[in-house]
Amino acid sequence: MTASPGIRLGALSVTFGRAIRALDRVTLEVGEGETVGIVGESGSGKSTLCRTLVGLTRPTAGEVEVLGEPVTVALRRDPRGYRRRIQMLMQDAVATLSPRMTIGRLLAEAVAIHGLDRDETEERIRSFLGRLRLPPSILGRYPHEISGGQARRIGVIRALLLRPRVLVADEPTAGLDVSVQGELLNLLMEFQRELDLTFMIVSHNLHVIKRVTRRTLVMYLGQIVEDAPTRDLFARPAHPYATALISTNPLLAAEDGGGAIILRGEIPSNAALPPGCRFHTRCPVARPVCAETMPELEPTAAGGQVRCHFPGTLARPGTGAA
């Protein structure tokens, strides 16, 4: 982690309506230029976290700072400037492209409102098209005439044209075959390095997270339950949810390292959160205290943080290790 924070969240809460607690006092610091992965069950608040960062969702309580400035202040002071500094790749790439504009127009408009130089922009678009292996003719097409993979690439160009310093990618390869995900992710990682982007990436593909991030956040029902160096997380997950999640993919283990841990029950609703530890209704190692007292996010020996009364105690079936 570097000294100057790219992103800082202080007890950030987002509540929808009166009851749906999408994020609950999330505290987090991400260094400038750091790449952080986010995994977690659907409904755990991953997209809400991303949207709050770019200013699409307003915090109910708590602080959100990007590049040292509170988002609310930045948006009031210079909304365009803020939108240039932080960009987001949306989960549904195709839906974010306006259907009645050609791709070329769409990209031109994205930069026009920011008053960037036209010739330079065209030059940059051409170079992006080349690197993303898109034919120049794509600029004359409409969103429905291009494939899902191409739409994602156009989304990447639109986001990066403005030379942002922070990029938030919400499941940037969802819906793409694994066979083509790698190419897009490689390009994103190249851009991350070139532009020294502070990069947050949400994915349900654990292999992707394992391979492109050095730090991973595991979310469950609006909270961060584990925050750890990615390598440690995959080798020795501390939180029982993280342990179970990783166990579901036998390919992540070099050997056949035991079977999947089967959690009981389903994810409780954000509108009726369990008392105590939010995971206790499904946790295989829960004890009575778990139903009563919510564990805090505490530092681990490995340099991460975990929110559990009994971290590291859930073993995979078929392995002796605890």
Binding site: S179, G182, M189, A244, L251, I262, E266, I267
Partner: protein, 324 residues
């Protein structure tokens, strides 16, 4: 009964004719023994759904299916639509990625399950039908099944709906259960529950299962065997662990390489350049040659045949002997 439960030979599925003709399945040979679970993998557009829909007799109008699909001695392709409809829900059952394609939103799940049982076991007294339905919902892990009978599909989570679909398949006691990406829309921990359920039920249910997934890890956990489809061809098959841990065919190697590698962070991720062939393409050589890292001149002119590789594996590649 001796011999495989299901034997598919030279199955072709095509549309149109002349230059615009589409070849969706290009000659599939496949056998499945009783009680086994077969996984089918391959990129989108490889023909996985087309293959199982053809087995189910659900070929859309305008498509031609040729070849043989023999289920316990009976060639399904020769059957009348009426006879085929009778087989579905008896000897064949299917579950889909989206249970709502099969569940009717305006009827209680109990009513729908009872209908399936009445249809499958005519003459059963109503109280027994009701009891079977509750029992089936309990077996698939629906909590408080008696009360759940009165729920509408919309009141259930995605995982619970998929359990209801499995209950419907169970009460049919099919010889062959086909599951087309049943866990694709589910969270990983719920997916693991469904896989665990199918594993435990396989003994209750005695039939064979064909399970389609694009998640190789899931296939490894559930299946005994795996078949890899590409561009309407079966390019490799064999025991699941052997194939996924030591793939032979370059396509399987590439596909597995996209999902597992021990390379460090910062090393680029693997991917397969290019895209799956269009159904209208008619390559003279190997269907994978355009994207294959090992392709040589003969690969572009000679189509490889699916050939035995040892006792229980098969692969269709001209260069198998020369690959590292």
């Amino acid at each position: 009964m001796a011999g495989p439960l299901l034997e598919i030979s030279d199955l072709r599925l095509s549309a149109g004719s002349g230059k615009g003709a589409a070849a969706i399945l290009r000659g599939i040979d496949l056998a499945l023994a009783r009680g086994r679970i077969l996984g089918i993998v391959g990129e989108s557009g490889s023909g996985k759904s087309s293959l199982v829909n053809t087995i189910m007799g659900l070929t859309p109008p305008g498509l031609r299916a040729e070849g043989r699909i023999v289920l316990a001695g009976e060639d399904l392709l020769g059957l009348s639509p009426v006879r085929m409809r009778a087989l579905r829900g008896h000897r064949l059952a299917m579950i889909f990625q989206d249970p709502m394609t099969a569940l009717n939103p305006v009827f209680r799940i109990g009513t729908q399950l009872v209908d399936v049982i009445r249809n499958r076991h005519p003459g059963t007294v109503p109280a027994a039908v009701e009891a079977m339905a509750v029992e089936a919902l309990g077996r698939v892990g629906l909590p408080d099944p008696g009360r759940r009978m009165r729920d509408y599909p919309g009141q259930l989570s995605g995982g619970m709906r998929q359990r209801v679909m499995i209950a419907m398949a169970l009460v049919c006691r099919p010889e062959l259960l086909i599951a087309d990406e049943p866990t694709t829309a589910l969270d990983a921990t719920i997916e693991a529950q469904i896989i665990d359920l199918l594993r435990r039920l396989r003994h209750d249910f005695q039939g064979s299962i064909i399970f389609i997934s694009h998640n190789l890890g899931t296939v490894m956990q559930l299946c005994d065997e795996v078949a890899v489809l590409y561009g309407g061809h079966l390019v490799e098959s064999g025991p699941v662990r052997a194939v996924l841990r030591r793939p032979l065919h370059p396509y399987t190697r590439a596909l597995v390489g996209c999902e597992i590698d021990d390379r460090p962070v910062d090393a680029p991720l693997a991917f397969i350049p290019g895209k799956v062939p269009e159904t209208t393409e008619r390559p003279g050589g190997c269907i994978f040659a355009d994207r294959c890292a090992y392709a040589a001149a003969p690969c572009r002119t000679t189509a490889p045949r699916l050939a035995a590789q040892g006792d229980d594996r098969r692969a269709a590649c001209l260069r198998l002997g020369e690959l590292p």
